[in-house]
Symmetry: C2
Subunit: 216 residues, 2 copies
């Protein structure tokens, strides 16, 4: 059996599980977002900022993916929302089989919105469908404006992009115009939010956006 | 054939090729460094800073790994050193078979030092031995000080860690003491360089370090 066939089998099996997850979400009218970014772009910080204002209005849960630690899960846990921590034991992405397995631990009929914080990596997480409604790319101004061109799959498949650390913009060489143009070229439907988890800039807009997206 | 056996075969085959690369390097007394970081931590920027002062004293070459583009290779090319660009077509890491294949394109007997810029990712590149003398981790102050704890394999296997964007330190919550303590706990032999590719801080020390390491 060649490696190519094995890889195809992995992707087909993943797609089967993603479909099962999608059916569970549909049945329970749940919106699920797959958050993808490099390590340190601010996925957990963004959740820390948007969960408190969302919490009073919708019922939400978080699935945390990390290679080894539960550090991010612990940060979310203090916000008093259901959190499931998945340790991938070195794997660089989450897969749909794992999501299908853990999602049953949540009281799905009571939940409106699930955020999945994927493993910090711009490459493989973009290739694995988790059954989410859509992917959200998070990048920071400190990473440079060339990320859309270098990791086009993520920006092509993301419905929204959050550009974090706007407070650092003036201290970096980040070219906002190039960044926006490149995303618009790769995926004109990808909506960009400019935010700063440090100063709070743009957080309200992200919160409002998710409130318009929930299904019940 | 189970997936586990396939994975073991991949790693064994990679180790065989890494050994072949190591033999070629040894024969030609070449120092080879495998640079690993998140996207946007500053691998290419670091090369842009250290290559000009190194170039007059040692003969060097660069192998650039990227998913799709040749943008980094083009940035190095203007420095007038031999560059080989590898596009992994979506794979999130370089492997030793590819290095073994491309390294013969270089005039090895004339080269003292090879930098490999791996695909931007903290997870998988750390697991694939490329036959290098050692790995160099690059992180930036904008990414947060929790990276050693969250990606311990990289810091355990790296001989040096370059902490870039020291110019942004005062604008971030990065805890330098925690960062250093965590690295020292994971790998006491991992030497840390605090640098800024923007201001030039620490670049001279990195250059001096590599000059003491070359083998001819």
């Amino acid at each position: 059996m060649s490696l190519k066939i094995i890889n195809e089998n992995i992707m087909r099996s993943n797609e089967d599980y993603a479909q099962k997850v999608r059916e569970q979400l549909k049945k329970n009218r749940i919106l699920m977002i797959n958050m993808i970014s490099s390590p340190g772009s601010g996925k957990t910080s963004l959740l820390e900022k948007i969960i408190p204002p969302l919490k009073g209005k919708v019922s939400l849960a978080v699935i945390e993916g990390d290679c080894y630690t539960a550090k991010d899960g612990e940060r979310i846990n203090v916000l008093n929302v259901p959190v499931i921590q998945i340790n991938t034991q070195g794997s660089c992405h989450l897969n749909a089989a794992t999501i299908h397995q853990v999602i049953t631990e949540l009281e799905l009929e009571k939940i409106d919105l699930i955020f999945i914080e994927n493993v910090g990596n711009l490459v493989c997480p973009a290739a694995f469908d988790l059954g989410e409604d859509y992917k959200m790319a998070i990048v920071s101004t400190a990473e440079g404006s060339d990320k859309p061109v270098k990791y086009p799959m993520l920006f092509r498949d993301s419905h929204i992009t959050v550009l974090n650390k706007m407070d650092l913009l003036e201290h970096t060489d980040f070219d906002l115009q190039v960044f926006k143009q490149d995303i618009a070229r790769i995926n004109p439907d990808n909506r960009i939010f400019e935010i700063s988890c440090k100063t709070g800039q743009g957080i309200e807009q992200v919160v409002k956006f998710f409130l318009t997206q929930v299904k019940k």
